[in-house]
């Protein structure tokens, strides 16, 4: 079941088209990575999902409830971190969460829980303006998830974080997913998205170019295998005869590209029939980055 959906969402800003016919489908319990180049409309989509930009009725649905008619209910169930973390820098982390407690009445126990979850219990009484970027980002997440929302919308949460901060955020997101939360992350640090996302949406030229499970996206492109053999020249000749794309890497190795996983067995058989011994074969894992660039290029 999808927790959040958009239905033919189109958005114009001062007669300038920003988004065209976007049909987002975010499955419940997933980590949904929303990818796109700078200025493609990722942040605008997020603002629309949070009701910060005006859109026509019946375009955004949360748990099959229309946004405009159920604004309060929906915002109670969404936590967000848009562009910058939401907090008051002159207050401490505890005071910021206490402020939210006044709005949501979740109790002191929840403040403790959330502080522990983002590992800020030790620094809870320090003024937020004295926090490091990573600590601020973690507090932003704490404030987004304080009221125990079903969906977390995070707009580029890894911006400005050092490797340790990125690692902590990744672990936190995986932990939240294991607790049943759905997470929607926009961003362009693809290596990180690849590590945590279960689903991906690719935005390009105002349209949603791809949407689905990350594995299906990674398998869309041909698979590459690194082949180490005793007769590389002969092997490459046979590949060319059978129209298999091939590239020489070194004296005894070359790379082939084949359509899908199963066809590697036919390649192996082909080599055996020609008395070529494959000493070693390794599948080259396709990276999200190259798939993303390939998708964007092919859309031009």
């Amino acid at each position: 079941m999808n927790i959040l959906e958009t239905n033919h969402l189109t958005f114009n800003y001062r007669n300038h088209s920003v988004l065209e016919d976007i049909n987002l489908k975010i499955p419940e319990g997933s980590i949904y990575g929303y990818l796109g180049k700078n200025g493609e409309g990722k942040s605008t989509t997020i603002k629309i999902l949070l009701g910060l930009e005006q859109t026509p009725k019946n375009t955004v649905f949360f748990n099959q409830k229309e946004f405009h008619s159920n604004r309060s209910y929906i915002l109670q169930n969404i936590g967000c971190l848009v562009e910058q973390p939401f907090f008051y820098a002159d207050l401490s982390a505890y005071e910021n969460l206490n402020y939210l407690d006044m709005l949501y009445h979740c109790g002191q126990k929840r403040i403790k829980e959330v502080l522990e979850l983002v590992n800020l219990t030790k620094d809870k009484d320090k003024k937020v303006r004295k926090y490091s970027t990573g600590m601020k980002q973690r507090l932003g997440i704490a404030m987004a998830m304080f009221h125990n929302p079903k969906l977390l919308i995070l707009d580029e949460p890894l911006n400005g974080l050092d490797p340790q901060g990125v690692y902590e955020m990744r672990e936190l997101m995986l932990k939240l997913q294991s607790e049943g939360k759905t997470i929607f992350i926009s961003g362009h640090i693809l290596a990180e998205q690849e590590k945590i996302c279960t689903h991906i949406g690719v935005l390009n030229n105002k349209r949603l170019l791809f949407q689905g499970e990350i594995n299906s996206l990674l398998n869309q492109k041909k698979l590459s295998y690194l082949i180490y053999t005793d007769q590389p020249e002969r092997g490459m000749e046979i590949c060319k005869e059978h129209l298999i794309p091939v590239n020489r890497i070194s004296d005894r190795t070359f790379i082939i590209e084949i359509e899908q996983d199963g066809s590697f067995d036919s390649f192996r058989n082909l080599m055996q029939q020609n008395n070529i011994q494959i000493i070693f074969a390794d599948k080259c894992q396709e990276k999200l980055e190259s798939v993303f660039l390939h998708l964007i290029k092919s859309d031009l």
Binding site: R71, S72, L75, V82, F86, Y88, D90, E95, Y99, L103
Partner: protein, 254 residues
Amino acid sequence: MKPVSFFTILKSEHYKLRFNIAIWLFLLFPFIITLCIDVYILFKHADAVNNPAITFDYNPWVWLLGRYIFEFYALLYPILAAVLSYSLCDVEYKNYGFRLLFTRPMSKGTVYSSKIVFLLEIIFISSLIGYLTFLLSGFALDKLLPGYKFSSYNDNILMVSYFLYLFIALSAVSFIQYSLSLIFKSFVLPISFASLMTIFGIIAQNKDYIYLIPYSTVWRLNYCIYSGIINFSKGEYVNIAMCYSLSLSHFLYL
């Protein structure tokens, strides 16, 4: 599910702004001014301290204590009201604008109006502190300057009226300044406007159109105190009401 209620938001405003310097400055301003003026009076009239033989021929509440204090009020209160109004918006600007507040289940109208109510509360408390410190300092000076006979005059109604009208005049100024702070999102423009209008209001006291400038009303209250009758003209009431309604209607379009 209901949105967060007005009183909850108002309560949270109190919480997050409880250490705000501008608010404390505005609250303590009448106390600090009164204290400084008391010291100045005692210094200037040192001969009369504990000396009943030296007397004061006029009403000391108005012509000794009020004369100094109210002039400071007239000049500085509108500017401080502008700083106060800006600081209520500034706390949100530091937090990347009001819009992040609207990702919470609260309506725009409730957020803006809770700040207005908070602003009125602060102005009222500050006026009340002003009134109480004025009375206390009068009683204290009565003991220290026995010949000036503070206790012989009963200007309580006049003073209550002054501080009540001060509250109304300052609330009109702060409404305008709150709107300006929301529009310009900067410190310099709204505060410069307030300073300019306060000075212009003092210069143009005798002009026919002066009732159109709420910033001048606090200064005009000084003349009222000296004449012993405090009231607003119909034009001033209409103008202040216009300031209220224009500021409130402006929030609907934000």
